[in-house]
C-alpha cells in the first residue's frame, strides 16, 4: 500500500474532478427527467437548450447512475482528505464502474444501430447517433484516462 501514498495528491484531484462532473451532469439530467416524467415541460426533446448540449435525454435511472458514480468518487475524495489511504479503492471502483457504464451505453448504441441497419429504415425513424449519445459516454473519457495512467496498479488488484 505504501506505493500509493506518493500519488495520492493526483488521485485526490482526479476524484474531485470526476466526482464533480458526474454529479453535476447527473443532477441536471435528473431534474430534467423528473420534470418530464411529471409533465412539467410540454416537450420532451433533446434539442432543448442545456439538455440538448449535454446530450442528456430524459432518463431517470441513467441520471441516478451518474449521481451514484459521482458520489463514489467524492466519497473517495473525503476519505483521502481524512488521510485514509483506503479512499483510493473508491477511486478504483469509481473508475471501473464508470467505464462499465460507458461500455453499456456504447453497446446499446451498437445494438440500435445494427437493428436499424437490418430493418433498413434510417430515414423513417430519423435516427441519429446523437440521439443515443449519453453523458455516461463522453464523461467516460475521464475515467478511461485514469485507468490508462494507473493501469499497473489495477493489475496488482487481482492478486
Amino acid at each position: 500500500m505504501e506505493q500509493y501514498s506518493g500519488r495520492s495528491k493526483e488521485k485526490m484531484f482526479f476524484a474531485f474532478l470526476a466526482g464533480f462532473l458526474y454529479l453535476l451532469a447527473g443532477s441536471i439530467q435528473f431534474v430534467f427527467s423528473l420534470s418530464t416524467v411529471l409533465d412539467l415541460f410540454p416537450v420532451n426533446s433533446f434539442e432543448n437548450g442545456l439538455i440538448g448540449l449535454l446530450f442528456a435525454p430524459s432518463d431517470l435511472i441513467g441520471s441516478l447512475i451518474l449521481v451514484l458514480i459521482g458520489s463514489i468518487f467524492l466519497y473517495g475524495l473525503i476519505e483521502l482528505r481524512n488521510g485514509l489511504n483506503e479512499g483510493i479503492a473508491y477511486v478504483y471502483v469509481g473508475i471501473l464502474i464508470s467505464i462499465l457504464f460507458t461500455v453499456v451505453y456504447v453497446l446499446v448504441i451498437a445494438g440500435n444501430w445494427m437493428e436499424l441497419y437490418l430493418l433498413n429504415d434510417t430515414e423513417i425513424c430519423g435516427w441519429d447517433i446523437l440521439y443515443d449519445l449519453r453523458p455516461a459516454i463522453y464523461l467516460g473519457i475521464l475515467p478511461l484516462c485514469g485507468y490508462l495512467i494507473w493501469r499497473k496498479e489495477f493489475r496488482a488488484m487481482n492478486k
Binding site: L64, I72, A89, Y92, V93, L107, V108, G111, Y117, K159
Partner: protein, 664 residues
Amino acid sequence: MADNRIRVALTGNPNVGKTTLFNMITGSRQHVGNWPGVTVEKKSGFKMHKGYEIEVVDLPGTYSLTAYSLDEVVARDFIVDEKPDVVVQIVDATNIERNLYLTTQLMELGSKMIIALNMYDLAEERGDKLHVENMEKILAMPVVLTIASDNVGISELLDTVIAEKQKENHHSREIGYGDEIESRIIEVEKVLSQEDGLASRYPLRWLAVRLLDGDENILRKISGSSVALQIKSILESVDIEEYEALMADKRYEVISAMFPQMCERCMTRMTTSDMVDRVMTNKYLGIPIFLALMWGAFELTFSFANPFMVIIEMIFVWLGETAAFYIRPEWLASLIGEGIIGGVGSVFLFIPNIFILFFLLSMLEDSGYLARAAFIVDRVMYKIGLQGKSFIPMLLGFGCNVPAIMATRSIEDRMDRMATIMVVPFISCGARLPIYILFAGTFFSKNAGTVIFCIYLLGILVAVASAKLLRTTTLKGHPAPFILELPPYRVPTLKNSIRHMWDNGSMYIRKAGTIILGGSVVIWLLAALPWGVEYGSEDSFIGIVGHAIQPLLGPLGFDWKISVSLLFGFVAKEIVVASLGVLYGVGDDELALTDSLLADPNMYGITALSLMVFSLLYMPCIAVVGIIKKETGSWKWTAFSVAYGLAVAWLLAFIVFQGGKLLN
C-alpha cells in the same frame, strides 16, 4: 478385477475448486461458481487412467467434519461410511492455514489421503513461497500442485492416486490432545472396542475423539449399539463444551506450528481486494451499486439483443409464410405454420436475450461480485429477521428455480430453509424472461430494459417480504447468524462465462425443441378442434377452456387468450409466449407476434404490466412443484406454495391493473 477400480472422494472447504477439478478429470460439466456452497449433492464420474478405472466423487464443501447443514452431512457421511479408497483434499493454496483445520480432522480418520494444492497460480502471483516437500513430510501424505481451471497437475494427481492405492502399509499422523483428554480418549476407546460392529466400521480413536468433541451425529450412529449407555455416562461426567473448545484450540495450535514451515510469506494482509470490498459493501453505496449493475445487465439484455431478435424474427416469419404457401392440405399448413413455427418460433426469438443475460450474470458471479451482493443483502435481511444465506439460492434462481431450491440444503436452520424454499419461486427464472421481453418491448419500447429490471426487483421484494411474513407466522424463530466467506475478486474468464451462458442457453433451446414443441402442437390441436371450427375461435376447445377461466382473470385485464396461455404456462413458463404465438397466428396474417399484440384492441400498456407481474409470481412450473415436494417432503407445503403464489400474483396484478385504470 476389483483391483483395477479406485474410488476417490474429492473433499475440501467450500469454493476451493473441487467441482472444477472434478469436471476436468471426468469431463463433466457440473456447476462451478465463485462462491461457497455451490455443490450440495455428491456427484460421481469415471475416468480411465493408466489401466485403472477411477471413480471420482465430488462432494459439497465443508469446513470441518462436524457437520451442521445437510450438504455437509452428505460430505461427511460419504467419507466416513462409504470409505473411499483414497481421499483427496483440495486445499486452496492462497488460504492454506484455514484449510488445514479440515486436514487435521481427516487425518484422524486414517484413510489414505492426498492433498491437491489448488489455485497455486494465484498463490504464486501473490508472491507466496510454497514448500511442498515440507508439507508432505509434516502431514505424512503426498501433496500435488494443481491449477484446476487450467487443467494443470491433473494427470500427476491421478498418478499419485494410483500410487497411493497400491501402497501396502499406510500410517497417518495423529494429533495429541494433552494428557487429560488423551486419557479420556483411551477410556472411551476401550468401551467402544467391546462392540465388534463398531471397530470394523470406524477407527476407534476417531470415534472417541468425535464423541468427546460433542458430535451429535456420531452419538446417533452408536446409539443402537450395546455400549451406548456406558458411553453416555462417560460423556456426562465431562464438560463436553469445554472439551470441544480445548480440542479445537489444540488443532489450531498444531496448525500454527506447522504452517510457517509450509509456506513463507503466506501471511494475511490487507489486500486491494479487501479495500475494494470496503467500497462494494459500503453502508450507503453498496445497495445502489448493486442495483446499478443489475440495471445495466438488464438494459443490455434488452437493447443489445434486439438486432439478433430481428434476424430470428425475420427467419420465422419467412418460414411461416413459406409453410402457408407451399404446404397442402391446409390443415397441415396450419399445424406447421401456426402451431409449430408460431409456437416454437416465438420461444426461439428470445435466445439472444437468454444468452446475453446469462453471459452477464456469469461475469458478475465469476468476478466474485455476486457473493458481495449476498453479503449486502444479508445485512438488510438480517435486520428484518431473515437469514442472508437464503440469498444465494435466490441468486441461483435467476437461472432456474429447480437448482435454487436444491441449493437451500446449505441452510442449517430448518425453519429458514422452509421459508426459503417457499419464496424461491418468486425469483424470476430464465423461462419468464421471454414474457417480459415480449410485452415490455412491445408496449414500453424505450423503457423496456428499466421495466424488466423493475419486474425482477419486484420478484426479489415479494420473496423477501413473504419470507418475513412466514418467519413471523407459521415458521417462527430467530434467524441463525450467517457468516459468508467472501471469495476473492477475479477477472472473469471469457471461457467460463461462455460455458455458463451455453449451459443455460442450451437448456433453453433443448426445452424449446421438446416441451415447447409438444405444448405448441397440443395447443394447436385444441385451437383447431372440434373439426370444422374456425381456427383459434371462441368455439374451439381452447376457446371454451379460455372462456371458462377468463372470469377469474378478467379483473386483471386478461382476455381468454391470455388466460388460457397462462394456464398452460404451468407446464413450463415459456409456453405462455409459445401459446400466444400459436393463438395469434403468426404465420397466418404475416404479422409478427409483437404487431398482432399491438393490433389487439384489448391490450394496453397497463394490461401488459399486469400480465408481467402475474407471470412473475403466479405459480411455479411443474418441475419446481416436483422439487418442492421432494425437498420439503410434504404435500401440504407444496400445495401452500402453489396457492400462496396464485394469491399473491392475483392480488398484485389486480392492484396494478385496477390502479392503472384509475390513474388513466
